[in-house]
């Protein structure tokens, strides 16, 4: 594998207009498509090398579907996911299944549930070594050595190789899942709620481990999570998703200090503070929008305290916020003439 050192600001991954729709079928014998769940709808972002991008949102916001579509665990409906392999770029959305397999070495996933994501009938050594076997990269003594090395890196011991997952605690199992992902020396790691299932005291250990490994292997993380305090701690930038769309993309500190989109504001205010004297906001009305039955215009407008007249008509798009690196999809930050132009265009296309 070539290990060229690219210029610092080249994106490892460029996601452009990525969409993933699931068809809604009619009931009965002749099943016809009568609609679509727009689980991921026109998502755009760049992921820089060595950076950690958080993808946050509530259930049904499309964050996991988005991550899986990028990795081609799901076939995208449309759009591009341009991935820098180190010797050229490929569009993951277009590449054939056959060409995809070698690329999978460079992008790995860590899953949420350390209990169901490890095969209970395989030893830890087999689990961690399996990717090397599948890709025919190592066997025999070399395989063993690489497994041992990886186990040490994630804070386990080589003698754990012979044991089965049930003998380990939740935190240790998550370390096994991390070892399995990193043994391929990937450049992109998608961590889907990787610390959500862990107890607080163990969660901190795994967060530290992820940070250490990132430094050591120059990893790029796409960190899918719903826990905002974890995201604040480890992410450089954060994309907030709502109903399949990114509604705000900002530097981590900027988002937490000065959230722009009303949904980001609501989400942050609902996080319970551990200081009893700082009261959280209990009064966010309504429910998360149903991606199969989106309201017209901005999907957040039925719950939004700041809605005004274009909000139920024109779909907002990510637009830079003046005087900041943040981009947000909210009419409050878009000049009226642009909204009017977009409204005419959107009305024409429907």
């Amino acid at each position: 594998m070539t290990n060229s050192t690219p210029a610092p600001q080249t994106p490892l991954l460029q996601v452009r207009h990525l969409c993933k729709y699931f068809p809604i079928m009619s009931k009965g014998f002749a099943r016809k498509q009568i609609g679509a769940v727009k689980a991921v709808d026109d998502v755009n972002f760049d992921l820089m090398r060595g950076e950690t991008l958080g993808l946050v949102g509530e259930s049904g916001s499309g964050k996991t579907t988005c991550a899986r579509t990028i990795l081609r665990a799901l076939a995208p409906t449309s759009g591009q996911a341009i991935f820098d392999t180190g010797d050229g770029v490929v569009d993951l959305a277009q590449v054939s299944e056959k060409d995809l397999k070698p690329l999978r070495q460079k992008m790995q996933m860590v899953f949420q549930d350390p209990f169901s994501s490890l095969n209970p009938r395989m030893t830890v050594g087999d689990i961690v070594g399996e990717p090397l076997v599948i890709h025919k990269l190592a066997r025999g003594k070399e395989l063993q050595d690489r497994v041992d090395e990886m186990l040490l890196k994630v804070g386990l011991r080589p003698e754990h190789r012979q044991r089965y997952p049930h003998a380990f605690s939740g935190g240790q199992r998550q370390r096994i899942g991390i070892a399995r992902a990193l043994i391929m020396k990937p450049s992109l790691v998608v961590a889907d709620e990787a610390v959500s299932a862990l107890d607080v005291s163990v969660q901190a250990q795994v967060i530290n481990l992820l940070a250490d490994l990132q430094d050591e292997f120059n990893l790029t993380y796409l960190f899918v999570a719903h826990d905002l305090s974890v995201v604040r701690h480890i992410c450089d930038r954060v994309a907030v998703m709502y109903a399949g769309k990114i509604v705000e993309l900002a530097e981590s500190e900027e988002l937490f200090e000065n959230p722009r989109h009303p949904y980001s504001q609501a989400l942050l205010s609902a996080v319970p503070s551990i200081d009893p004297d700082i009261k959280m906001n209990f009064d966010i009305g309504g429910e998360v929008a149903d991606a199969g039955k989106l309201p017209p215009g901005c999907p957040f407008h039925p719950r939004c305290p700041h809605r005004f007249e274009p909000c139920d008509k024109v779909v907002p798009w990510l637009e830079p916020v003046e005087g900041s690196t943040t981009r947000t999809a909210c009419h409050l930050y878009i000049p009226p003439e642009k909204i009017a132009a977009a409204g005419a265009a959107q009305a024409g296309s429907n």
């Binding site: 250990q205 604040r232 989400l267 319970p272 209990f282």
Partner: protein, 354 residues
């Protein structure tokens, strides 16, 4: 014990008898719930918080068994207290307590509801069991209750099945079902853990309103210290089947005494600088079959001293001058500004030989 106590748990022991031997899931828990207050039981998995709450309603099934202690319930009508732990499994007294005076809401709103019965069937069942009304009256009461917990279109919703509702709505139904008999005590076992953060706020508000409007007393089980800060009046922190610290909510979260509580609070992300290493607690929670001697937290404790923390019995809860209680022999050394009150034996005189 004050006059205002509605539930007093004394030295509760609930053990499980398995092939690996006796598992002391709850091993001598003493807590009390004041009328109209929220008591939070906090801890990580395996600390016994849920087993404690299941014990209160006598929902422990074999191989589990309550092997000791009392669960005293003081009904508001002033009659004699009832020791729930001592009631006969099939007695009418237990049936009237469970679901009538004390009811419970569970973590997972999907599994707590029957998928093959309508909402009306499920709520009316509870009413008809505990109150002398006709099915038509029960239905009216159920609709009224759904309205109170904030379900829009309750007349229509009542004939729906759980799968037709969102997670937040289902949790409201579960709460409605628990409240329909107007219980004095509500046990909430991780009621918002499965919910999104904006919906969590709505459900927490509902529980807080219950307390302030109906005077319901709540035992709130959670692992989320943020939720504790927002809803609890009093807090008991549990570790490996015992209470290690007990105080009011500000005491536990702002001036914690026990090293476990202190470490837990410090290991939360989002407090320090972004990217800085989190002060994690080393190791992981030991198995209940293999509880360390002395203070069970000592292998993970940054303040543990050999010869004092790793020997003998588990340290007892002691009361300190700031009003908190903690089960740690080194509280006065770690916090020089507090001293023990109440008990005469001076713990600073450590066993010199060991």
């Amino acid at each position: 014990m004050t006059n205002d106590t509605v539930l007093q748990i004394e030295d509760l022991k609930t053990y499980f008898y398995t092939e690996q031997g006796e598992i002391p899931a709850v091993d001598g828990v003493t807590v009390s719930l004041q009328r109209g207050k929220v008591l939070a039981l906090v801890g990580e998995s395996g600390c016994g918080k849920s087993v404690t709450s299941y014990s209160i309603l006598r929902l422990i099934r074999p191989p589990g068994k309550i092997v000791g202690g009392k669960i005293l319930f003081f009904p508001s009508d002033g009659v004699e207290p009832v020791d729930i732990a001592g009631l006969d499994e099939t007695s009418d007294a237990l049936y009237s307590v469970r679901g009538g005076h004390i009811s419970m809401i569970f973590q997972e709103p999907m599994t707590a509801l029957s998928p093959v019965h309508t909402i009306n069937n499920q709520i009316s069942e509870a009413i008809l069991l505990h109150q002398d009304v006709t099915p038509a009256q029960a239905r009216e009461m159920a609709i009224e209750m759904l309205r109170k917990v904030g379900i829009p279109g309750a007349e229509r919703r009542i004939d729906q099945y759980p799968h037709e509702m969102s997670g937040g709505m289902r949790q409201r139904v579960v709460i409605a079902m628990a409240l329909v008999c107007n219980p004095e005590i509500l046990i909430a076992d991780e009621p918002t853990t499965a919910l999104d953060v904006t919906i969590q706020g709505q459900i927490l508000k509902l529980i807080k309103d219950l307390v302030s409007e109906r005077g319901t007393s709540v035992v709130f089980i959670t692992h989320d210290l943020g939720v504790v800060a927002q809803v609890a009046d009093d807090v008991a922190v549990m570790y490996l089947g015992r209470v290690v610290e007990k105080s009011d909510v500000r005491g536990v979260l702002k001036t914690p005494l026990h090293p476990y509580t202190m470490s837990l609070l410090q290991s939360l992300p989002g407090l320090g600088h972004r990217g800085a290493r989190l002060p994690a607690i080393r190791g992981s929670v030991p198995n209940l079959t293999d509880i360390p001697p002395g203070c069970p937290f000592h292998p993970r404790c940054p303040h543990a001293v050999r010869g004092r923390c790793d020997v003998g019995d588990r340290p007892a809860l002691r009361t300190f001058s700031n009003g908190g209680q903690a089960a740690c022999v080194r509280v006065e050394e770690i916090h020089p500004h507090v001293h023990e009150v109440g008990h005469s034996n001076d713990p600073r005189v450590a066993p010199a030989t060991v």
